[in-house]
């Protein structure tokens, strides 16, 4: 097998991807980068599913299909919202629009 690694290494990979995604979501102020970050988080979960599925049974892999589909839908929805937001405010930085608060 090409990728010979034990489960801890794989978990390290997915946790790293999760951490990078969280880092991106919290530090990037532009909506497109935030979308990238969201996709990374969901991919981290997907990686987990695939790895455990390879060790256990086929259910995880099938759930990963659905997750990919959901993530794609989420990306589409996100982009729709982002575009509407941009068209209205001329701005891709949501932190600047803070009318709803307190």
């Amino acid at each position: 097998m090409l990728l010979e690694a034990d489960v801890h290494a794989y978990l390290f990979l997915s946790f790293s991807l999760l951490a990078v995604g969280v880092y991106g979501l919290l530090s990037r102020r532009s909506v497109i980068r935030m979308l990238f970050a969201v996709e990374m988080i969901i991919n981290a979960a997907n990686l987990n599913l695939a790895i455990f599925s390879a060790q256990r049974n086929v259910d995880g892999e099938i759930f990963a299909f659905f997750t990919i589909g959901l993530a794609a839908l989420e990306a589409a929805v996100g982009l729709a919202i982002v575009i509407v937001f941009y068209k209205r405010f001329g701005e891709v930085i949501p932190s600047k629009i803070r009318n709803l608060r307190w």
Partner: protein, 611 residues
């Protein structure tokens, strides 16, 4: 027995049924039709209560069922009717019925009688339910119902700002007490395992739990009673509640709401006795009586004087309970209900005919309203405790019982308060009915017959009740020993006579002027001190504003400065209110929200790691 159970349920139900049908009939047909429904309902309710009273044998009526069960958890409900509840129900339905009749005249200009009678019947029904239920949860439900109706009725003229605020105040203040009561119920339920009055009392008589626990429960429940019965320090709402219609005041003061607190303490008397809470009851009662009696001396509005006197008499009942003489307390409750209803309704007639609430702007009304004046005088005599009238018998008994109890503080305060009745009572009567007629008095005429009939009924009762004293006491409590001290009786009557003389000289003969006394700063100060009810209201407001509000604000401020903001801009805005800072977490920045989210997750993980 089975029949009586159903009649009891019917008695509670008929008022709620009547209230709804009064509302609907008044709404969809002629408005005043609701009056006839109300009268019919009140009468049937009263007759049913009488039936229960007559058929009540040695054994109380008991019926139990579970509202619902869930495994071992169940909420029991049920009724328990003994002579005490039946007497309370008689007072509520009887005086309530007279009050409904009287309202026909008093509320003649009103535009929404269906709303009025709906709320009124609901009020009476809640009170009847309150005295018939067998456990604390049922009592709490009706207790809240009574509170809700008083809120609605005090704010009946809701377009008047003062009325609306008074209603809110009454609601909030009684609710404040209720929170403690609810806590008490929960504690009793969890730690003692029962909320049934009889079982609680039986546990207390058997000494099945520690005195400290009993004291805690009793005091928590007593705070609820204090709020409902307007005792120190939760009484200011009672004065403001005078903004409602006078008939409502009569109902609240004589028949229903304020009696609930006394009833609750009487119902749980063995429990309070076992847990040494009665001494607290006695002290609170004595202090309240003193505050109220002195306050009544300083006030000038008819209804507020009467309100203070209600508070005083309720306090006397609490004193009676506190010194261990439940019979005196309940007997006084009954007498007080009758003469206070008489006084309030008569005052209602005066106010309705003159459109003036300030006693000192009236005068010489005797000439225009002789029957009302005489009926009012009967009420005053009963209130003051002058011998042939019913107030004398119970009040003297309370003073005697207090004397026998032997605590000088309680006795002193109670004695002073009790004798002061005659002073403020006659002060009120002289000012309103004698002297030169004022502008307002000259338009007055005698009250309508429909208003006078209830007054006559009540006046006759004040004289008749003493003849049946023995039977009533026997019905209520069986054999009771009444302490009797001849010296004390003579002393009481003498002091009362002297006080009457002073009042007579000041307000009737007007040979002594109070103007000079009031002009002096000290006299003015004392007057204002008494007038404002010893500034308890102001103190409550101050405590709310400075202690609670201030301390919370400070606590949040501290957290904000040291935790949230660091030393960046903390110290500048100390005076901002608490939420004004707290809400700053909600920055409106989506990235901040995401940061909080992740930080929350990590905190939870760390908590798992270390906890």
């Amino acid at each position: 027995m089975e029949k009586l159970v159903w009649i009891t349920y019917l008695t509670i139900g008929i008022f709620f049924l009547g209230s709804i049908s009064a509302f609907l009939i008044g709404k969809f047909t002629e408005r005043w039709n609701s009056f006839w429904v109300a009268v019919l309902t009140g009468l049937i309710g009263f007759i049913l209560t009488c039936y229960i009273a007559l058929n009540l044998g040695e054994h109380p009526i008991v019926h139990k069922f579970n509202w619902f069960t869930f495994g071992s958890f169940k909420i029991p409900l049920g009724i328990y009717v003994d002579s005490l509840s039946v007497v309370m129900a008689l007072i509520a339905t009887g005086i309530g019925f007279l009050d409904i009749v009287f309202s026909k005249g008093y509320m003649e200009d009103d535009e929404s009688p269906h709303r009025y009678y709906f709320e009124k019947l609901f009020f009476i029904g809640s009170m009847v339910g309150l005295v018939f239920v067998s456990n604390l949860v049922g009592l709490y439900i009706f207790w809240e119902g009574v509170g809700l109706c008083s809120y609605l009725l005090i704010g009946y003229w809701y377009w008047k700002r003062s009325a609306a605020e008074a209603a809110l105040k009454a609601f909030v203040m009684t609710r404040f007490g209720d929170v403690f009561m609810f806590a008490g119920i929960i504690v009793a339920w969890v730690l003692l395992g029962t909320i049934n009055f009889q079982e609680l009392n039986a546990l207390a008589l058997a000494g099945a739990f520690s005195v400290k626990l009993g004291l805690l429960i009793s005091l928590l429940i007593f705070i609820g009673a204090v709020g409902k019965s307007a005792q120190f320090p939760l009484f200011p709402w009672l004065l403001d509640a005078m903004e409602g219609p006078t008939t409502v005041s009569a109902l609240i003061h004589a028949a229903t709401m304020v009696n609930a607190g006394v009833y609750l303490v009487a119902r749980m008397f063995p429990f309070f006795d076992y847990s040494h809470a009665l001494i607290v009851v006695g002290f609170v009662g004595a202090l309240s009586a003193f505050i109220a009696a002195t306050g009544a001396l300083a006030h000038t509005e008819i209804k507020k004087i009467l309100a203070f006197s209600t508070m005083e008499h309720l306090a006397l009942m609490f004193v009676a309970l506190g010194v261990g003489s439940a019979a005196a307390g309940i007997f006084h409750l009954m007498n007080h209900a009758i003469f206070k209803a008489l006084l309030f309704l008569a005052a209602g007639a005066v106010i309705h005919m003159t459109h003036q609430k300030d006693a000192f702007k009236l005068g010489g009304l005797y000439k225009y309203m002789p029957q009302t004046a005489l009926l009012f005088l009967v009420g005053i005599l009963a209130l003051a405790g002058v011998p042939p009238f019913n107030g004398f018998f119970s009040k003297d008994w309370i003073i005697g019982a207090t004397y026998a109890y032997g605590n000088p503080v309680i006795f002193g305060l109670t004695f002073v308060a009790a004798v002061l009745c005659i002073a403020y009572g006659f002060r009120l009567w002289f000012v309103v009915f004698t002297g030169e007629p004022s502008e307002y008095s000259k338009h007055a005429r005698e009250a309508y017959p429909i208003m006078l009939v209830p007054l006559y009924v009540l006046a006759v009762l004040t004289v008749v009740i003493p003849f049946f004293k023995e039977q009533i006491i026997h019905f209520l409590f069986g054999e009771v020993h009444e302490p009797f001290f001849l010296n004390l009786l003579v002393a009481t009557l003498t002091v009362m006579f002297i006080l009457f003389g002073i009042v007579f000289l000041i307000y009737y003969k007007r040979v002594i002027s109070t103007v000079k006394f009031l002009a002096h700063p000290l006299g003015k100060g004392i007057n204002e001190f008494l007038y404002n009810g010893w500034y308890v209201d102001a103190a409550i407001k101050w405590i709310c504003r400075h202690v609670f509000y201030g301390s919370i604000a400070k606590a949040v401020e501290w957290v904000d400065i040291h935790v949230v903001d660091g030393a960046v801009n903390g110290t500048a805005r100390l005076s901002l209110a608490c939420w004004d800072r707290c809400r700053k977490i909600q920055t409106g920045d989506v990235i901040d929200y995401l940061t909080y989210f992740v930080a929350g997750v990590i905190t939870l993980v760390l908590l798992i790691l270390f906890v």
